[in-house]
Amino acid sequence: MRAKPIALALCLGLSASGCIDTLTESTSIELAVQGTRVDGAFEGRDGVPISLERAHIVFGPVYLCAGFTAGNLCDESLAEWRGAVVVDALSAEPTAVASMDALTGTARSYMYDFGIASRLTTPEMPLVTPAAESLGPASAVVSGRAEVEGQSIPFTVSVRVEQTGAVEQGVPVVRSGESDGIEQEILPDGQTRLRVRFDPRPWLATANFRALVEDAACEAGRDVVCAGAVEQTCAPDGALVASRECDANGQVCVRERGCVDRLELGAESQLGRALRSGVEAGARPEFVFEVSP
């Protein structure tokens, strides 16, 4: 129709002449994730050396907000990416993830999930993203070794991190506050880029690896005890039934378990709770904003 281009031209002309000024604009933010290269071991709780072999975490969905605190005050976001990705937190190589839909303005807080999102409509059935499904489903999987009392304990911890608060259903798990907020102007035309950098070392900061080992002897009520790297099998009356050197088979002796090739732990374990606490409430990833020239 002829009228349409005329109308558009008229209005574009008005816009170009400055007669129409809408200030806030739609834009986008290129989102990338990266981890942190960790060479060798680092100290965990009580000075326990920990070396990581795998640190995968699911990141997303993520929202940037205009308020100083996110959460309920971020009913309207300034930028969002409703997907999720598995981040190799040991790789320092940035990985482009997606383009976030955004509006121009100042972002002051953020909130995100670990691949498992609470739904307002069915809080009992959180939405598990494909990224989280690929991990088990899980939000984070960490593998490594902890050097404790002369033993090198291989471990793998897998956790789901999801919203559990009844009054916070539909709200992401991690919501920044004033102390850990951001202050970043989101520019038009996709000039603003965001890189989220994870460092897995703090994730296990509260993990008590020393509790995994012991130097004990059989006693009543215990089936298996570790005397250092030696597994002892106990009779109900506490008498020693048998013992074996775990390291002879390349194994480690873990409290209550005896000789194991590898410690596989879930969310309800002490390590699992520590990992969940570490990723959810511990050190947050770094939100690095860059502006394209």
Partner: protein
């Protein structure tokens, strides 16, 4: 004392032909005056003393050629009694001063044997002219000394009058008649020597009946209502040019207006006027037949006004006063005031039944009765409509009945008007644009969720009023009105999908954001006014003062809840009673200094008082022990406002009017937002207009005006609550061009272009509760189209004079509306809207058959667009970024109408 500016001039020019066809001689040519009028309409007392017109208060007959006087010189007829034509009531607001040329056949005794319109100016003007001249008496034409029959041409000129009341009342105020007969100005056709001929044809040609000039001057005490250049009157010929789905669509022809029924059949139109996104009427004062339509403190929006009850066949004209310059303009006259005048023109009177059927199984039935013996304002009409609606969930039914009767009693004119309206409809709600683009939902569909499929609305309304006007000797006049209204409104609509949380039931969320709004209003009101006769200290000055008052009481019950499927209430947001009292006083001084300058200066004050019983007040379950208080918050508040309204008009030329105006208006607050003892904050508006009106009789009228308005506190739609929220001060700068043309009797056209730059000045700053306000200082107001264009063109006439004894008449018309892209919050732009409607009909005898096509090009358009956060996929990760939402406009549709008129 001379008459000047305020005069209506009725110019009567006469030409004479005698029955014998001999040469004519007129006294105009000889300079011999005719007899002065011996009688005037008793309803129209003479305001000017007789001396005013002394020099020209006699006929100005033409002079005959001396050599043609023998053997039987013809003397043309003389006027001995001239009853002034009554300016058509509905036109009293108007801007037209057309000329109607009437061919009058006189018998040998000087009585009017026949009168036919030779050149008309619309049915109401034609009727007025014919009614008047049939009462005239003449000294018959004479051949020699022998009286003879003759035919004369009389050109009756209607000068633009002024209002003193809404039109329907103003009709009562007939013009004061200064019965003078003048010689026509030189050079006009009236100077031509008349001829006298046998009236063998009902409407002889000009050659047969040249004119002589007679001028009767009439003065009105009616007031000026078109204060600025932004006052427009859209007559029925323009309103009826293009087809209308319903009476409210006539708003489209008002310059600067775009109106769309975006939400559904039972919800009022959303109206844009001159850069104001007036939502459902918050910024436009709407009146129908003098009855106020806007509902204060309505749950769905302040000033909610649904004119869905209008029946197109009884809307005679729409008058728009854009800007706030008349002290009579009251609450909600922020962008301006729009009046619908009701009535049925004489040519359309009688009984009419019309059935329409068309697209989407839409059926309409109209019954209209307008007794031919009664005045234009008297009629009764009822219209029923059933439709399944386009797309999904747009079906509904509605019925509207309007009854109006008018009568005279002495100096009083009394009128009663009653309106009953009811409608219920399913609603489709809004759709996310990205869902449409992704194919997740069809453009004309609705979401499948139960809370989307449950959207509907019901409305019912009664309005009744009784109006009286009187005119006293000397020109003073006054009037009163009393009215009562009752309204019920219930809406279930889901704008945001699944993002709401219950405030009453902690931990309950996501059950679907189906907002239920309920509003019931009982209103009573009255008005009165008095206008003095003219005070004339000097010949060049006339002054009049008008004072008036109006008031209303409103009792409101309203509530807002959230509903889940099976109508379970899972949250309660509003449960309140409101009692509002509103009173207004105004005074208006009119000064006319010579006929070239008019100044109006007035003031209007208003007082508002509210009592609110907020039964959910003090609800804070998480912070206070439940047993420390009983929920509820009763409060009262009040406030007053006063503002000037001034205007000036300079008429350097007969066809040119230069106008300037400034005024302050107001909008009352939403009562529930007031705190106890709060000085009720009026939203105030200042506006100014500067423009010119060019008018060439009824043939062409062009108005151009630039305007500025500044609003203290604008509001915008808040979808999460489904109502309006404050967004701060705003300013508009714009211009309007409007042209009406009637170049031929059978052709009428009108076009308007409105440009506006609407800017937000002081939006609310970011707060902890609202850290990301969607509005910033300096940004263009969301939803306001910078450009609005409208064009109407219509042709009508007789196609075949005689088909089986009846004439075959035809009508064609088109209407085009353009709405430029509108800025949305957060920087988006809504798509432009351009719509063509076309229609035509054929009428033969009592039967007519018409076809109406709407959205001829089948443009897929959004009747309204919003930008806000929603989540329509409860299974997906919720979106929190504001997104475009739209309500689909109607696609191509066709209606066929079969009518029977008697």
């Amino acid at each position: 004392m001379a008459l000047f500016a305020a005069c209506i001039c009725t110019s009567t020019t006469a030409a004479a032909q005698d029955l014998d066809g001999g040469p004519a001689r007129t006294e105009a040519d000889s300079g011999v005056p005719s007899e002065p009028p011996s009688e005037v309409d008793s309803d129209v007392p003479t305001e000017a003393p007789p001396s005013e017109g002394a020099p020209d208060s006699r006929a100005a007959p033409a002079e005959s050629e001396p050599e043609e006087e023998s053997p039987a010189a013809l003397t043309p007829p003389h006027i001995v009694r001239a009853v002034p034509p009554e300016y058509p009531a509905a036109r009293l607001s108007g801007l037209a001063h057309p000329t109607v040329v009437v061919i009058v056949t006189l018998d040998a005794e000087g009585r009017v044997a026949d009168a036919q319109v030779e050149h008309g100016a619309g049915e109401d003007f034609d009727d007025a002219a014919l009614r008047a001249v049939r009462e005239w008496r003449f000294d018959p034409a004479r051949r020699g000394e022998t009286p003879t029959a003759s035919r004369i041409r009389i050109a009756i000129h209607f000068e633009l009058p002024s209002f003193d009341l809404p039109t329907s009342e103003a009709e009562h105020i007939g013009p004061t008649f200064d019965a003078r007969v003048q010689r026509p100005p030189p050079g006009r056709a009236e100077d031509a020597p008349p001829e006298v001929s046998e009236p063998t044809h009902p409407t002889p040609s000009e050659d047969e009946a040249p004119e002589v000039g007679v001028t009767a001057r009439v003065e009105s005490e009616t007031r000026v209502e078109d204060r600025g250049a932004g006052s427009f009157e859209i007559d029925r010929d323009i309103l009826a040019a293009a087809p209308r789905r319903e009476g409210a669509d006539m708003l489209l022809s008002v310059p600067g207006v775009f109106a769309a029924r975006a939400e559904g059949l039972a919800i009022g139109h959303r109206i844009n006027l001159r850069g104001f996104d007036a939502e459902h009427g918050q910024d436009v004062e709407l009146r129908v037949g003098g009855l106020p339509v806007n509902l204060p403190s309505h749950i769905h929006g302040q000033g909610y006004a649904d004119v869905g009850f209008l029946i197109p066949d009884v809307v005679q004209r729409v008058r728009a006063t854009e800007g706030v310059y008349d002290p009579r303009q009251s609450d909600f006259a922020v962008a301006g005031t729009i009046d619908f005048d009701l009535g049925v023109a004489r040519a359309e009177r009688g009984f009419r039944a019309a059935s329409s059927y068309g697209a989407f199984n839409t059926f309409q039935q109209l019954l209209l009765w307008a007794p031919e013996s009664e005045r234009e304002a008297t009629f009764g009409a009822v219209q029923y409509e059933h439709t399944e609606g386009f797309g999904q969930r747009r079906g509904g039914d509605r019925i509207s009945a309007l009854v109006q009767a008018e009568a005279r009693s002495g100096d009083w004119r009394l009128r009663g008007l009653g309106i009953v309206y009811g409608a219920r409809a399913d609603l489709a709600g809004v759709l996310r644009a990205d869902d449409i683009e992704a194919g997740r939902v069809g453009f004309y569909d609705t979401y499948a969720h139960p809370t989307a499929q449950s959207q509907n609305a019901l409305t019912g309304r009664f309005l009744g009023g009784f109006f009286g006007t009187y005119r006293a000797d000397g020109g003073s006049n006054g009037g009163f009105s009393v009215w009562v209204g009752a309204d019920t409104f219930r809406l279930q609509e889901n704008f945001t999908g699944f993002i709401q949380r219950s405030r009453v039931l902690p931990g309950v969320a996501g059950r679907g954001d189906l907002i239920e709004q309920r509003n019931q209003t009982l209103s009573v009101g009255l008005s009165g006014r008095f206008r003095t006769e003219a005070w004339r200290p000097w010949e060049w000055l006339a002054a009049r003062v008008e004072v008036g008052l109006d008031g209303r009481l409103d009792f409101l019950e309203q509530g807002q809840s959230l509903l889940a499927r099976r109508n379970e209430t899972w949250d309660q947001r509003v449960d309140a009673s409101v009692f509002g009292t509103q009173g207004g006083l105004f005074a208006d001084l009119e000064l006319r200094l010579t006929r070239h300058l008019r100044i109006n200066g007035g003031v209007r004050g208003a007082l508002l008082l509210y009592e609110v019983d907020d039964r959910l007040g003090n609800f804070a379950p998480d912070f206070r022990p439940r047993d420390s208080f009983i929920m509820g918050f009763r409060r009262s508040a009040g406030g007053a406002t006063v503002g000037p309204r001034v205007s000036a008009e300079v008429k350097p030329l007969e066809w040119l009017s230069l106008r300037a105006a400034y005024g302050q208006g107001y909008r009352s607050p939403q009562a529930r937002t007031l705190e106890d003892g709060e000085r009720a904050p009026f939203t105030t508006v200042q506006s100014g207009d500067l423009g010119a009106v060019f008018e060439f009789d009824r043939v062409l009228r062009v108005a151009v005006t630039g305007y500025w308005t500044e609003l203290s506190d604008d509001v915008a739609f808040e979808p999460r609550e489904g109502r309006l929220e404050r967004i701060g001060a705003s300013r508009r700068l714009g211009a309007v061009l409007y042209a009406q043309a009637r170049p031929l009797d059978w052709l009428v056209g009108a076009v308007s272009v409105t440009y506006v730059n609407a800017e937000l000045l002081e939006p609310p700053p970011a707060t902890a509760d609202n850290p990301q306000p969607p509005f910033e200082p300096g940004q263009n107001l969301p939803y306001v189209p910078p450009v609005v264009l409208r064009a109407d063109v219509g042709v009508r006439g007789t196609l075949v004079e005689d088909v089986l004894g009846e004439s075959l008449r035809g009508r064609l018309g088109v209407g085009y509306s353009l709405l430029s892209p509108r800025p949305l919050p957060y920087g988006g732009f809504a798509e432009p809207i351009h719509l063509f409607d076309a229609g035509g009909s054929l009428a033969w005898g009592p039967v007519d058959l018409g076809v109406s096509v709407f959205n001829l090009l089948d443009t897929r358009f959004a009747a309204y667009e919003f930008l806000f956060t929603s989540n329509w996929d409860p299974e997906a990760i919720p979106a929190r970024l504001p997104a475009r939402h739209l309500a689909a406009g109607a696609p191509f549709s066709l209606m066929v109408t079969l009518g029977l008129s008697t």
